[in-house]
């Protein structure tokens, strides 16, 4: 679990005060993915916390409620969807993006998991797609 300063500024938000930068929680059991997402989203003006397991995710949520949650489907200690269900109870209105490399039927995902997740983004999609989804869910 960590937060980082932006290494570069793309959106012009790098100088924004900490309190005004939106907080995003990223949950994934692969550290390289966590690092990449943290670097990318921080550069785009978000404040990012990362968690590599369910317990760390719970700690982050308790410390400071995120504006959005990005989670993988497969975690080391639990299933991502189960964790999302748990966090949904704590944060009913917080949008959740399921970011996974598991082959899923997007339509089936949308129909069956609409109550749990707000959006589904494949790990093979460009980061720009993820960024657009974040903007849509947080600012839209």
């Amino acid at each position: 679990m960590s937060s980082a300063r932006p290494p570069f500024d793309i959106s012009g938000m790098a100088t924004t005060q900490r309190t005004t930068r939106r907080h995003i929680l990223v949950i994934d059991d692969e550290q390289p993915i966590l690092d990449l997402l943290q670097e990318y989203l921080t550069a785009h003006g978000y404040r990012v916390s990362t968690a590599s397991n369910a317990q760390q995710a719970r700690n982050v949520v308790e410390a400071e409620a995120p504006a959005l949650i990005i989670t993988d489907l497969q975690l080391a200690d639990t299933d991502g969807l189960q964790l999302v269900g748990e966090l949904r109870v704590l944060l009913p209105g917080t949008p959740v993006i399921l970011l996974t490399g598991v082959l899923l039927d997007a339509r089936a995902m949308e129909e069956n998991l609409r109550w749990k997740i707000s959006s589904y983004v494949s790990k093979t999609a460009p980061l720009q797609t993820l960024l657009q989804e974040i903007s849509r869910l947080i600012q839209g």
């Binding site: 570069f8 793309i10 990318y40 550069a43 790990k123 999609a125 720009q128």
Partner: protein, 392 residues
């Protein structure tokens, strides 16, 4: 932009030289003015001194003339009255007369021409004094006849007229001299005035020229400074723009770098995930190239054939699997290669796997072509073992 603000150092040197030249000329004019003024003042002082001297001389000559007349009157009175008091008065006037002559002689000490004019006066005075002494002596002897004759012989009136003429001549000479000196003094004053005015005008012109040169240099310098400032501002603006462009490019490159890393990990992740799926399948799965060489096999296939992947990768699939008899496989005919070449699937074909130990295992074979943009690049072959009885 090709703006050249000029070279300040040479401009400054030229200006300095010009200003120094003008101030040098002004200094020369000033020195000339001082010199001329001092000379004229000196001449004026000298003229004033000479004028005073002339005035004193004229006064002395007037006094001498009066004293001479008085002395002659006193002498005549004494000759008529024989009164000792008159004689004393006369003697006093003679003393006075000598003093006045001495004073005038002293005044004329530095004027030889005037001395020449005054010498006849002194000679006449001396002669007159001598005549007076003789008359006094005759008076004291009481010889009235001799005294009368002496008075007739001396011709005192003639000497006195000559004295008067000579003194008047000297006076006229000095009055003329005084007039000349007055005129010269006036001309000197005029000359001094005009020289001073001219010099001041020239000084003002030179100072004006120096001011103009300095103003011109300052204007040039201000213009150069303005141009330099403009250039600096333009340069700073270009630097700002370039910095902004570089920052944007850098940010873009960094973003692209992250995207690339993300794509790479996504590919690796997907590849790994796909392999996991293949490996998890319980059937024997072979991935073959377009030429039917094995490029991948899952653990179940390893278990079926008894051959490790290193022994089969890049080897012909037909080396271990053949279609079962009755499927019409001629020696020169490869149904797998043909199916791939034509993009056909093979479904539920019976085939025989020859294991590493030489055992023949009957299997059911399905083959699916792998397409990449409508081009067949290989195939996936799935083998399911079947009982020997089913095969037969």
């Amino acid at each position: 932009m090709s703006t050249d603000p000029g070279s300040p150092a040479p401009q400054s040197d030229t200006t300095l030289r010009r200003v120094l030249l003008i101030f040098g000329a002004a200094a020369l004019v000033l020195v000339f003015l001082v010199f001329v003024t001092l000379r004229n003042v000196s001449q004026s002082a000298e003229t004033a001194s000479l004028r005073n001297q002339s005035d004193t001389l004229l006064s002395g000559l007037d006094a001498l003339q009066v004293t001479l007349m008085t002395a002659e009157a006193e002498l005549n009175r004494y000759l008529l009255t024989s009164d000792a008091r008159d004689q004393n008065v006369y003697q006093g006037k003679r003393v006075e007369l000598r003093e006045q002559v001495a004073a005038i002689t002293a005044l004329l000490a530095s004027a030889p021409e005037d001395q020449k004019l005054f010498i006849p006066v002194t000679e006449l005075l001396n002669r007159r004094t001598e005549d007076a002494d003789r008359l006094l002596a005759l008076k004291q002897t009481g010889d009235a006849g001799a005294l009368r004759q002496r008075l007739i012989d001396t011709g005192a009136q003639g000497d006195l007229r000559e004295l008067e003429r000579r003194i008047g001549q000297l006076r006229d000479h000095h009055i003329a001299l005084l007039s000349t000196r007055d005129r010269d003094s006036s001309q000197q004053a005029q000359s001094t005035r005009w020289i001073v005015i001219g010099g001041l005008v020239l000084e003002l012109l030179l100072l004006g020229g120096a001011a103009w040169v300095i103003r011109d240099a300052l204007a040039t310098r201000q213009e150069a400074a303005r141009l330099l400032q403009t250039m600096n501002e333009q340069l700073e603006e270009r630097v700002r723009q370039r910095t902004a462009e570089l920052s944007a490019t850098n940010a873009k490159l960094l973003a692209q770098n992250i995207e690339d890393r993300w794509a790479k990990q996504a590919t690796e992740h997907q590849n790994r995930y796909n392999l996991l799926i293949i490996d998890a399948v319980s059937d024997s799965v072979f991935v073959v190239t377009k030429l039917m060489n094995v490029s991948r096999m899952n653990p179940s296939a390893v278990h079926l054939t008894g051959v490790e992947p290193s022994g089969l990768i890049d080897k012909p699939f037909t080396g271990i699997v053949r279609l079962a008899d009755g499927e019409g496989a001629a020696p020169t005919y490869d149904p797998f290669a043909r199916a791939l070449a034509e993009g056909h699937e093979l479904r539920s074909k019976r085939a025989i796997v020859t294991t590493k130990g030489g055992q023949s295992v009957p299997v059911r074979l399905d083959m699916y072509p792998l397409r990449d943009r409508d081009q067949v690049v290989g195939g996936v072959i799935i083998l399911q073992t079947i009982a020997s009885s089913s095969l037969s």
